[in-house]
């Protein structure tokens, strides 16, 4: 197909040409950056938690009046839960991966360090490895004589005696690699306060934080063997087979209420619900972005249909002349298709530059990485396809113009 005549024609319709190129460029930029943002969200939603997600249940309860011994109460409750048929493991924790309220500590590698090295999640918990289904990759699991009551820890810190420290702890592989790259973390010490030292006794493969806002630090977690008393901020965790979840949850609530009617069961959730709740905004944002990308392509497509129809109507007589001079229907069809391809290509070139600029602007205001160049062809292909689809109707109408039109004066 000879493109020179097409370029010569386009030169006579500069304004409409520029408008189309501008529209396609804007669309291309929105599509490229939009698709990238959607991918980012989808990747976030796939973030691993490290736990047996389909097997875990969370129960939160609060007593109406504080029990005489919160620690004894917690142990009694855990014993009750362990006896429910179908329960594989029970545990207790102050937080869950992606679970809402978080507890974090500032990690130091020496007690006199002026600035903390990093912040990591503190899982003050009981029996967490088997209940979460964590994978221990080095060292040992926590044992029953590793645990002490939270009150004892707090008193030791308050009076400055440092009694009971260093305590054993497990850390996640990501945290181990960040703190001691290329070294074995086993036996290493870290501090959460000048008097609070901890010795790493084991490493788990993956354990995400409750507030995993930042992908880079989302897997920095510590498991600390502390008995927490029964109160509204602690979660009882029950692991069971996926099919038994609803039955076990109902039985657990009944058993807990039976043991102490003067309590309120405030939250019961499966872990699947926790994950779905946590990522709901990402899911919604991805859906909105997909909607906008579709809408913007549709609008641009409609614009191309409108302008191509205008051009066809305007050039009706010239088309008739070409047909009379021997051009086939296919020639006319190809003419408009090639013209559209050229215009869209101009738009795409401008659009890629615009997409890159937009990405830089987004980076300045949001925590978004730079647009990878591999996303640019996505917008290009989308627009070429939309352009060809949109121009097909008007081009076929042009091809249908009979040669006899040339002999008529409108």
């Amino acid at each position: 197909m000879d493109i020179l005549p097409i370029l010569a024609t386009l030169r006579r319709h500069k304004v409409i040409l520029w408008l189309l190129v501008l529209e396609i460029a804007l669309t291309c930029a929105i599509v490229c950056d939009g698709v990238f943002l959607v991918t980012q969200r989808l990747q976030r939603m796939d973030m691993p938690s490290g736990i047996a997600e389909h097997e875990l249940l969370q129960i939160q309860q609060a007593p109406i009046a504080p029990p005489p011994d919160r620690y004894a109460r917690a142990q009694e409750d855990l014993a009750i839960l362990r006896q429910i048929p179908g329960v594989l493991a029970v545990g207790m924790s102050n937080q869950l991966p992606f679970g809402g309220p978080s507890s974090n500590g500032n990690v130091m590698l020496s007690p006199t360090q002026p600035h903390p090295t990093l912040s990591a999640a503190e899982y003050f918990s009981e029996n967490l490895v088997p209940t979460f289904g964590l994978h221990l990759v080095a060292g040992r699991a926590l044992e029953s004589d590793d645990y002490i009551d939270a009150d004892t820890v707090l008193k030791s810190l308050a009076d400055g005696s440092g009694k009971g420290f260093p305590m054993p702890m497990l850390i996640s592989q990501a945290l181990a690699t960040r703190l001691w790259p290329q070294q074995s973390p086993l036996g290493k010490l870290l501090w959460l306060a000048p008097k609070a030292s901890f010795r790493v006794v084991g490493v788990v493969a993956t354990l995400a934080r409750a507030n995993a806002y930042n992908t880079a630090t989302a897997q920095y977690s510590m498991i600390i063997p502390v008995h927490m008393g029964a109160d509204k901020d602690q979660s009882y965790l029950v692991r069971t087979r996926p099919l038994d979840r609803q039955r076990v949850l109902a039985a657990a609530v009944t058993a807990l209420e039976h043991a102490d009617p003067a309590r309120v069961i405030s939250h019961t959730r499966t872990y699947d619900e926790i994950r779905s709740d946590y990522f709901q905004d990402d899911r919604a944002m991805a859906a909105i972005l997909v909607g906008v990308i579709a809408a913007v392509l549709l609008v641009t497509g409609m614009g191309i249909v409108g302008l191509a129809s205008f051009w066809v109507a305007q050039r009706r007589k010239q088309i008739g002349i070409r047909r009379a001079l021997g051009a086939t229907r296919t020639d006319i069809l190809r003419y408009f298709q090639t013209e559209n391809f050229l215009i869209v290509s101009f738009g795409i070139v401008a659009g890629m530059a615009l997409a890159y600029g937009l990405s830089l602007l987004l980076m300045a205001h949001y925590e978004i990485p730079r647009l990878p160049l591999s996303y640019l062809p996505v917008g290009a292909v989308a627009l070429w396809v939309i352009g060809q689809l949109a121009v097909l109707g008007p081009a076929m109408r042009a091809a249908a113009v009979p040669p006899v039109v040339a002999t008529r004066s409108v």
């Binding site: 304004v15 409409i16 408008l19 189309l20 501008l22 529209e23 804007l26 669309t27 930029a29 929105i30 939009g34 609060a62 007593p63 109406i64 009046a65 504080p66 002026p114 009150d151 820890v153 707090l154 008193k155 810190l157 308050a158 400055g160 306060a193 000048p194 008097k195 609070a196 109160d231 509204k232 901020d233 003067a262 309120v264 405030s266 709740d277 709901q280 905004d281 919604a284 944002m285 909105i288 972005l289 906008v292 809408a295 913007v296 609008v299 641009t300 409609m302 614009g303 249909v305 409108g306 302008l307 129809s309 205008f310 109507a313 305007q314 987004l362 205001h365 949001y366 004066s409 409108v410």
Partner: protein
């Protein structure tokens, strides 16, 4: 003349229905998307207490240890119990209140209702007057009540309806966590958004139903919600109580100051206070005080979710594409009528008249597009409200945004019509008349 313009415009729009529909649709989806995103942004970045917010300030002092200090460090976002009580007792502002969020078990007297937990606020007497909280019945407690650890409680209308069928419950008793309280007041529907006085419990969709004097709540060891920020060996609570230790900032302190001069004086007072505490050995850092007003405080905390801002930008980008699209379509439409316009020019119509004619047409497209956009925005907001986000329920179109919708639609379509109309009016009549 306007009626004539309208008549011609309607005929012309009807003549090419597909092109007209494309233009109207293009404006409508652009405006619809834009208004949905803007309304959400507008609702979320609104002033929670219009008319009052400029007089409310959030004092911050820096009691942290010297370790890790860096120039330009901001003071903690909350105050310690000691500083809070000191500033409260100093009474240097017109009004002041110290507070913390929590949750308490309510034990209804009626046996048909099971005990349940509600969100609570532990605060001091000035809270209600300072934040213009409207009372349906009764009133708050007094300063004396604060000092005496009074077993007084203010409940919301919602709780009153649940427990007392909406009757005036002032003077009646309420069992909270095993203690009997006397109801002194019932608040009418009051839900400032964002939840500005305590952003640590979530910025939106958080609503306390019970207000208890702070000292009373601390004495009874009621559970607290929200964050605490500790330094040195500070931790979440010892000495028999579940409360954070002295080196933790965990309460919010607000003051009301009705003039900028008073605000400047109060800031000076905070500096003096910090110096005094440093002389006493409690503070280790040079005075580092802040006194943001309410809107500055919200801004500093970035309460509007960044996704919502991103959505607004996205919607503007989309509107821009729709506008460019409309300009192109209008240009096509007007240029096609070069023949008709030439005839009118030849018969003596002024350029100005033709220009007005064409703009009337774009205006009509704008009004139709605005109406479509409004319907789409209402639909969009309905979709937003169905989402489980904490702010979703707030997404409603208010009259101001309604006006903005039409102004935007009309402005956008007139703008889109301006350039095509100018070009179309400048046709050379002789050329078009001859070529036909």
């Amino acid at each position: 003349m306007l009626a004539y313009h309208f008549d011609i415009a309607l005929r012309s729009l009807k003549r090419n229905k597909v092109l007209t529909a494309l233009m109207v649709l293009s404006i409508a989806v652009g405006i619809g998307a834009c208004m949905t995103a803007l309304t959400v942004l507008h609702v979320l970045s609104g002033d929670p207490l219009p008319g009052k917010s400029a007089e409310l300030y959030y004092p911050q002092v820096d009691p942290q240890d010297a370790r890790g200090m860096m120039p330009g460090n901001l003071p903690p976002e909350q105050v310690t119990l000691i500083d809070g009580m000191n500033l409260l007792r100093a009474k240097r502002a017109d009004r002041q209140a110290l507070m913390k969020g929590g949750a308490v078990p309510i034990q209804p007297a009626s046996s048909t209702l099971d005990p349940f937990y509600v969100e609570a606020r532990y605060t001091t007497a000035d809270f209600f007057a300072m934040f213009d909280a409207p009372f349906l019945y009764g009133h708050g407690w007094t300063d004396a009540g604060d000092g005496a650890h009074a077993r007084d409680v203010v409940i919301t209308r919602k709780l009153d309806e649940k427990l007392f069928d909406g009757t005036d419950s002032v003077g009646r008793t309420l069992r909270i966590g095993g203690t009997t309280f006397r109801i002194t007041g019932v608040l009418d529907a009051w839900r400032p958004n964002p939840h500005f006085y305590d952003l640590t419990t979530g910025s939106y969709d958080y609503c306390e139903q019970v207000f208890v004097p702070l000292q009373t709540a601390l004495e009874l060891h009621f559970d607290y919600n929200g964050s605490n920020d500790c330094w040195a060996n500070g931790t979440g609570g010892v000495e028999g109580g579940p409360y954070p230790s002295a080196t933790c900032a965990w309460l919010q302190f607000w003051v009301e100051l009705d003039s900028p001069a008073k605000a400047a004086a109060y800031k000076q007072f905070l500096v003096h206070y910090s110096e005094e505490q440093r002389a006493l050995g409690r503070f280790e850092r040079a005075p580092n005080v802040r006194l943001p007003d309410l809107m500055q405080w919200l801004d500093h905390n970035g309460v509007v979710p960044s996704d919502v801002r991103l959505q607004a930008w996205l919607a503007f980008g989309f509107l821009l594409v729709c506008l460019v699209n409309t300009v192109g379509l209008m240009l096509a439409k007007f240029m096609r009528r070069a023949g008709e316009l030439s005839v009118r020019r030849a018969m003596g119509a002024a350029k100005r008249t033709l220009f007005a004619q064409l703009l009337t047409e774009s205006g009509l497209v704008g009004i139709a597009g605005g109406t479509g956009g409004l319907l789409l925005a209402l639909f969009g907001l309905w979709l937003v409200r169905r989402r489980p986000s904490d702010y979703a329920a707030l997404a409603h179109l208010d009259p101001a945004m309604l006006v903005v919708t039409f102004a935007l639609a009309l402005g956008a379509s007139l703008l889109a019509g301006m350039f095509p109309a100018l070009r179309a009016c400048n046709v050379a009549p002789a050329f078009h008349l001859k070529s036909n």
